[in-house]
């Protein structure tokens, strides 16, 4: 749910990174944080366990420049990917404007990807959203590893609708900004379309 503030001349949107545990959601945000100029970002908040697994969410506020005198602000969130944190995932999804589904390319994570994708669809429906109607993109992460599934196979599993998708290596940043820019653009385009 965007927040258009005519008084402060700001467009605020919420983007959620979703995907199975350890797929690299937090790493995406960390890379974005590390590579963004101080003036364009706020503090990154990570509510994590002692072993650095996301416990509730990561949060990174970003400014992506101005349109017609309106500042565009994006609030990036990650969900905790571990299966048993489902209640928390549902809370983070509230008010979402755009989604990045991060898949883990490793063959042994195939099941986890499918489970997470189905979980996303279900959790959206429960809140009266539909994945088809929300801007979303898919990222196939960890393309640097040796034991990865072929792209076509991953596409079939995590991107049946054929939305825009990217290969990525979040640890080096490959594909990270491409993913972010496209989802942010889709969100603004959708806002424009909706008016």
């Amino acid at each position: 749910m965007s927040f258009i503030n005519y008084s402060a001349r700001e467009i605020n949107c919420k983007i959620v990174y979703y995907g199975p545990g350890l797929c690299g959601k937090t790493t995406n945000l960390q890379y974005i944080y590390a590579r963004t100029a101080p003036a364009a970002k706020g503090k990154m908040i990570s509510l994590a366990t002692e072993t650095e697994r996301t416990l509730f969410f990561d949060f990174l506020p970003l400014s992506l420049g101005e349109i017609r005198g309106f500042k565009t602000r994006f609030h990036l969130y990650t969900v905790p990917g571990q299966v048993f944190y489902d209640a928390s995932r549902r809370l983070i999804l509230k008010g979402v404007d755009g989604i990045v589904f991060v898949a883990d390319s490793q063959i042994e994570r195939t099941e986890a990807n499918i489970e997470s994708f189905e979980n996303l669809e279900l959790n959206l429906i429960e809140q009266g959203y539909e994945l088809e109607k929300i801007p979303y993109v898919v990222q196939y992460n960890k393309r640097d590893l040796p034991n990865i599934a072929p792209l076509d196979e991953l596409r079939g599993l995590c991107n049946p609708k054929g939305v825009p998708d990217f290969e990525a290596v979040a640890t080096t940043g490959f594909g990270v900004f491409d993913t972010l820019k496209l989802v942010a653009k889709q969100v603004l385009t959708e806002l424009r379309r909706g008016k």
Binding site: M1, S2, F3, I4, N5, Y6, S7, A8, I11, N12, K14, G42, K43, I45, L47, F56, F57, F59, P61, L64, G65, E66, I67, R68, F70, T72, H75, A87, S88, R90, L91, K94, G95, Q127, G128, Y129, K181, A184, K185, L188, T189, L191, R192, G194, K195
Partner: protein, 159 residues
């Protein structure tokens, strides 16, 4: 699903006035009004040294989690939350199901007074939001997006 939140100058001034008054009447350190999704709407008082963006996101997460607990316990909603600190205490309430009113205060005031002032301010804020939602729902409501072109959006993402 709630419609998008839109804030016009007129309603912003009204909300700002309520927050400023609440800050004074409750002898609070600071007042923040935050959208349920974690975006700051208005503030008053001593906020220069506060990271209001982080505070807003964490507060929203906290209220969402507490709301989730209430649901599990089949409570309709916990009406407010209060955290006592050595120097600063925090009081937060959900207003009109969609915004969170946060008061930071210290020993110069009391929880009782804060609660009293919050109740009144909350009612006023709820009314302002009601009027604003009605305004946004009108087809003639002004929208920045009628001015923005696809090209504007493309330009934002040019390297």
């Amino acid at each position: 699903m709630n419609p998008d939140l839109v804030m016009y100058e007129e309603e912003f001034q009204q909300i700002q006035a309520v927050c400023t008054r609440l800050h004074r009447d409750a002898s609070a350190k600071a007042v923040l009004l935050i959208d349920k999704n974690g975006q700051l709407i208005a503030d008053a008082g001593d906020v220069a040294n506060l990271d209001t963006v982080s505070l807003s996101s964490l507060t929203a997460g906290n209220v969402a989690a507490t709301g989730g607990i209430a649901k599990l316990l089949k409570e309709k909603e916990f009406t407010g939350q209060y955290h006592e600190g050595e120097e600063t205490s925090v009081h937060m309430t959900l207003v009109a199901q969609r915004v969170i009113l946060v008061i930071l205060f210290d020993e110069r005031t009391s929880l009782g007074l804060v609660r009293l002032r919050v109740r009144k301010a909350g009612e006023e804020i709820a009314k302002i939001f009601e009027a604003m939602l009605a305004k946004v729902a009108e087809p003639s409501a002004p929208s920045i997006f009628s001015e923005i072109t696809d090209e504007d959006i493309d330009n934002l993402f040019k390297d």
